[in-house]
């Protein structure tokens, strides 16, 4: 399906983007890459230890959707399309397998119904003319709208979690047999429409799910709720990779909150977020307190907000005298033309992140200049 001609044209496009970005930001540049259609999700390919690569998929209702595997060139000046695969439906969620770089999951929709699947990139995809993704497993127990598929972020684990509007599924994935089985399933309960979730990297049995009015914490062994943060309109949640018990949430109007999940009443810290909705938030896998958020105001904000215990005192004083505190906002990347929904840190080079705006533009930036500042 994907012609060679098209492939080349994309590469050309890449170059023009990157050069354009370079002049725009004067000296330091984010590297750009254009997808053909609108898209929402991007994921770091964590298992690829040789290259810094990201995987992203398009969201087009009426056109043929694509999955792009992109890689930062060795010089770090270009984004190269490593692989381009067609995907049957528009992609609403995409997550790379943390232990196999060729495996990833997607949540997709044909407009009326949703589906989720685990895919494998064919081994010799570079040599194939039109490589096809291999579907390892379909997570087809869902009924309603599927929100996301979660991999355990910290290592090899044969379990998967998928979340739809009303249920939480725990799957056992067997890659060799190419099969996924539902291990357990739990309904979120009445009037709790789930919207997403995060898997605790420190605890293989702990998962947080977001819904209309709260963040709920689940124990996967019992599939029971253990705790909840009562907070409305949480759109996204992300565990701090470095600090246990720290969860960062993004809310529509009221910005970003950092929680210590042992103390779910009051957030440890509060960040102003974005001018419109704060769509997604993600903690840096390496640098403590470095948080990235993306919003529908077409910006990506880089925050420095350490949430360790010693900072609790200062967080209180923030509330009292906000003017005297150093601005937690390190930088605001505003070189986007539409809402930014996709955001991913590179785990291989943790000072690099990829962002994806709705118009299908991937921008990879380095936060190095801001790291030296702290």
């Amino acid at each position: 399906m994907v012609s060679f001609h098209r492939f080349v044209s994309i590469k050309k496009k890449v170059k023009s983007w990157s050069s354009g970005a370079a002049t725009m930001q004067g000296g330091y540049s984010g590297i750009g890459y254009g997808l053909k259609y609108q898209s929402r999700c991007i994921s770091d390919v964590k298992a690829d230890t040789d290259h810094t690569s990201f995987i992203t998929g398009t969201l087009s209702l009426r056109e043929e959707n694509e999955v792009h595997l992109i890689r930062i060139s060795s010089g770090g000046t270009e984004l190269i399309c490593e692989g381009l695969f067609s995907h049957p439906n528009e992609i609403w969620d995409l997550a790379s397998c943390p232990f196999d770089q060729r495996i990833f999951s997607t949540v997709f929709s044909n407009g009326e119904s949703y589906g989720a699947a685990i895919w494998q990139i064919p081994e010799l995809y570079g040599q194939l003319n039109s490589p096809q993704l291999e579907r390892i497993a379909s997570l087809d127990e869902h009924v309603g709208k599927i929100n996301c598929v979660l991999w355990w972020p910290s290592g090899r684990h044969d379990k998967l979690i998928s979340i739809d509007d009303e249920n939480l599924f725990l799957w056992t994935l067997d890659c060799s047999k190419k099969a996924a089985k539902v291990q357990s399933k739990q309904s979120s309960g009445m009037l709790h429409y789930l919207s997403g979730g995060a898997w605790d990297p420190h605890d293989i049995n702990a998962v947080a799910t977001t819904c209309e009015s709260s963040v709920q914490f689940w124990d996967l062994r019992t599939m029971k709720k253990t705790n909840a943060i009562e907070r409305a309109h949480i759109r996204n949640a992300n565990y701090d990779m470095k600090n246990n018990h720290i969860l960062v949430t993004a809310e529509d109007e009221s910005g970003i909150h950092i929680w210590d999940i042992r103390k779910p009443k009051i957030p440890v810290k509060e960040l102003p977020g974005h001018t419109h909705w704060t769509w997604t938030v993600t903690c840096n896998p390496e640098y403590d307190g470095l948080i990235l958020s993306a919003g529908t105001d077409s910006t990506v904000n880089l925050w420095m907000a350490p949430a360790s215990a010693e900072d609790e005192a200062t967080s209180e004083s923030i509330a009292e005298s906000p003017t005297q505190q150093a601005d937690p906002l390190l930088n605001s990347y505003s070189d986007y033309e539409d809402s930014v929904y996709g955001l991913a840190w590179s785990s291989r080079e943790p000072w690099i992140f990829a962002s994806l705006s709705y118009d299908g533009r991937v921008v990879v930036e380095s936060v190095k200049p801001f790291l030296s500042r702290k």
């Binding site: 609108q38 209702l61 009426r62 929709s109 407009g111 009326e112 429409y193 309109h233 529509d252 109007e253 009221s254 009051i266 001018t275 419109h276 909705w277 529908t296 105001d297 077409s298 910006t299 509330a319 906000p322 003017t323 505003s334 986007y336 033309e337 539409d338 809402s339 709705y358 118009d359």
Partner: protein, 791 residues
């Protein structure tokens, strides 16, 4: 030698013999020849027969050779004569010596005979002396008894005299009582005391009783004297001294007197309390100051005067009672200040406060006169410092209260009619409360400063500092309060919960806007004026060191309020958009958009949406100033005019070419690129009606767009969205009042709503828009219906 003797003797012819004798004797008794004449010359040597070196042969030879015969013969004769002379002299000498020896022997013999009788005489003498002594002893012993007797008699006489005195004592005492010579009486009594002590139980019982009775009377009299205010202080002091001499328990007296003093103190306080009460009752501001000044001049001052007098007397009476008195006086001062503090708690005007201070100060000065050791001025200075500080602090608290009251009044009038202007009223009232309140406050404090009261003069620097500090703290507190009232701050403590609970949800939203505008007002108007005022009349100070210069840093305040104004405005916008978001969320989650039915009318959520926007409009109109359109229009972006026109143009074209799916799609993407979304979305919000309103509208439409993006539509769903948005556009067009604003509005509103339709068409399987006539018709129906409803 002879010759020489001769010649010498020639000069003294008389007693020639005696002379020679003496010489001889001396030569005899004086064997020492050192005194002999010097060795003679040749001639003399010849002559010096007496010398030891005399050489008779040589002499003879010389003589023979020198002299002639005649001379020799003469010499011979001479010599013979001399020899003869010498012989006789010798003889005489021997005789004489012998005589003397004999007489000495005689004397010794006589002496010997005399000494023999002396021993006996001496013994006799001793005997006599002995007898004299024994006689005198005898006389002594014989007289001793009599002398003893005489002495005893003498003692008895003295004793008798004392006894007499004691017997006379009662009479004498009564006499003294009669003549009020208490001092004498006490002297007598104390004189007699030892006797009474010794013999009081036996011999002088009656006497003792009588005199004790007398003394009791005396004591009574003395006490009376002591306590009677009419007596002179001197007399009272004497009485006290006498009482003390009488071993009367003066301490208890002292305590009693002190009690009396304290009692009078209590009376004094009671009076003051009354004064304060009167003061508090007279709420008429014109009378207040006067009332206070007139009352103490009559009642209070007199009583304090009396108290001071009493203290003076007391001090004289009990010279060692200072510490107690000091305590008492300090107590009085403390009580006074406590009273004032009590009053301060219940809000009094500075005139009253001043009056009260003045009263206290006069009291203090009065007492200081009589009791300078108590250092009352210093003491009251300290107490006053605390009180004035509290006064300053409480005044600020009241101001804060006033302001929040003014703000919260909105809630009191919840009826619809008042709603229209409620926020405006609140804003005006609170503005006034801030500015007028602060000015009044400063005026009050100025009164404190300008007063020449000693207490305040000394405290002046402190007051200046307190006022400055107070304002600083006040504004900080006010800022806190604002954030609290706006509900922005999480109510973590109880009092916050309380104030928040009192607020209705509806008011809360508007109040954020009021607070924002009020913050701007404080930043731009109130703070400069206050700092000006402070600089004018509260400069100086600096009793303490400030690390950051002045206590009142208007810059800092301005900054605080600038930032909180921004925060509050954003909070307001946030709250408003949040409400719309909730509305939209409900709208978009419920229906199944993929199976949507053909649109028949504008969905009712649009009504709610418009209603929300209207509410914003009304609130904004009440509070914020009208912005300058032209300025906005130009400063925002020059390109926007063009784009808006082309937008309208393209819009028209789009509706015309809607049947052609492919072309419309092309158009969409084209347009989307034409109007870069982010460029004009999130500009800085200004404090104008237009800016705030458009920001809210923009944000709401952006939310709408985002919600649309999350859904997938069938053709009818898309058309429904189209219809709803179209209606919104029509309504908003009608809302534009100022001609000039149209362009401006279009660029914002139209573009945003256009984006919504683009988003919807992107998420639609089959984006075929409604035919314009149908669209128009449906919109008109809705318009007519809403007009009907409003009528």
């Amino acid at each position: 030698m002879v010759e020489r003797e001769k010649t010498r003797n020639d000069d003294v012819p008389l007693d020639d013999k005696a002379k020679r004798m003496r010489d001889l004797l001396s030569s005899f008794y004086n064997p020492d020849h050192s005194s002999a004449p010097k060795p003679p010359s040749d001639y003399e040597n010849l002559d010096a027969i007496n010398s030891t070196s005399f050489d008779p042969d040589h002499y003879m030879n010389v003589l023979v050779q020198k002299s002639n015969l005649e001379g020799l013969l003469r010499r011979h004769v001479e010599m013979a004569a001399e020899i003869k002379n010498l012989d006789t002299d010798l003889q005489m000498l021997v005789y004489e010596n012998y005589n003397k020896f004999i007489s000495a022997t005689d004397a010794i013999k006589w002496m010997k005979s005399n000494i023999v009788g002396m021993q006996a005489n001496m013994e006799q003498l001793l005997d006599k002396i002995m007898s004299v002594q024994s006689r005198s002893d005898g006389v002594n012993t014989s007289l001793f008894e009599k002398r003893e007797h005489i002495e005893k008699l003498h003692r008895t006489r003295n004793l008798l005299r004392k006894v007499q005195f004691i017997y006379d004592l009662p009479a004498r005492l009564s006499k003294c009582i009669k003549s009020e010579a208490y001092a004498d009486a006490v002297k007598f009594y104390t004189g007699a005391m030892p006797i009474f002590k010794a013999y009081g139980d036996s011999s002088f019982q009656d006497c003792k009783r009588a005199s004790e009775e007398a003394i009791v009377i005396i004591v009574k009299n003395l006490q009376a004297k002591l306590f009677s205010d009419s007596e002179s202080i001197q007399a009272r002091a004497e009485a006290a001294v006498l009482l003390k001499q009488l071993d009367f328990p003066v301490d208890s007296l002292q305590a009693k007197l002190l009690e009396k003093l304290e009692q009078s103190l209590g009376d004094l306080q009671l009076k003051t309390v009354r004064i304060e009460n009167i003061l508090l009752e007279s709420n008429d501001p014109s009378k207040q100051g006067k009332a206070f000044e007139s009352i103490p001049s009559t009642g209070h001052e007199v009583s304090v005067h009396g108290f001071a007098e009493a203290i003076r007397a007391y001090r004289v009476i009990f010279p060692d009672s200072e510490s107690q008195l000091i305590k008492l006086a300090q107590n009085l001062v403390i009580k006074h200040f406590e009273m004032i503090e009590q009053c301060v708690k219940s809000r009094i005007s500075s005139a009253n406060f001043l009056g009260a201070l003045r009263t206290i100060w006069t009291d203090v000065l009065l007492m200081d006169e009589v009791l300078s050791e108590a250092a009352l001025p210093d003491f009251s200075l300290e107490a006053g410092q605390v009180t004035v500080k509290k006064y300053v602090a409480s005044t600020f608290t009241y101001l804060l209260q006033d302001i929040s009251d003014a703000l919260l009044k909105v809630k009191v009038s919840p009826n619809e009619a008042a709603e229209e202007h409620a926020l405006k009223l609140a804003l005006e009232a609170s503005k006034k409360a801030v500015l007028q309140g602060s000015m009044d406050l400063l005026l009050d404090f100025r009164q404190l400063l300008d007063d020449d009261l000693g207490l305040l003069v000394k405290l002046r620097e402190f007051i200046v500092d307190w006022v400055q500090e107070g304002f600083q703290d006040f504004f900080r507190a006010l800022d806190d309060r604002f954030l609290l009232l706006s509900g922005r701050k999480n109510p973590s403590s109880q009092d916050q919960v309380l104030s928040e609970g009192a607020l209705g949800e509806k008011v809360l939203v508007g109040i954020a806007l009021v607070l924002a505008q009020l913050s701007v007002f404080i930043e731009q108007t109130a703070t400069p004026r206050i700092s000006e005022e402070i600089a004018a009349s509260f400069s100086g100070g600096g009793a303490r060191d400030y690390e950051n210069g002045h206590a009142f840093a208007s810059g800092e305040i301005c900054q605080i309020f600038r930032s909180s104004a921004e925060k509050l405005l954003h909070h307001y916008i946030n709250m408003r958009t949040q409400r719309v978001s909730t509305l939209l969320r409900k709208r978009f989650t419920t229906p199944n958009w993929v199976k949507h039915k053909e649109p028949r009318e504008v969905h009712m959520f649009v009504d709610l949406f418009v209603q929300e926007l209207r509410a914003v409009q009304s609130e904004v109109k009440q509070i914020l100033p009208v912005g300058l359109m032209r300025k906005h229009h130009r400063s925002d972006s020059n390109g926007s005019t063009n784009s808006s026109r082309s937008n309208a143009l393209l819009d028209d074209r789009m509706s015309r070419s809607n049947t052609q799916k492919g072309r419309s799609q092309l158009l969409e993407t084209h347009l989307a690129k034409l109007f870069k979304q982010k460029v004009e979305i999130f500009t800085k919000v200004e404090y104008t009606q237009e800016s705030v309103e458009t920001t809210i509208v923009k944000l709401c439409l952006k939310s709408l767009q985002e919600f649309v993006r999350l859904k997938t539509f069938n053709r009818s769903g898309f058309q429904q969205i189209q219809l709803d948005v179209q209606f919104l556009r029509t309504i908003s067009r009608e809302n534009i009042e100022v001609e000039d604003a149209i362009d401006f509005y279009l660029t914002r509103y139209e573009l945003r709503s256009f984006h919504v339709i683009v988003a919807a068409s992107e998420r639609c399987f089959d984006p075929v828009p409604l035919e314009p006539p149908i669209l128009d018709k449906l919109v008109q129906v809705k318009l007519a219906r809403s007009k009907e409803q409003s009528k």
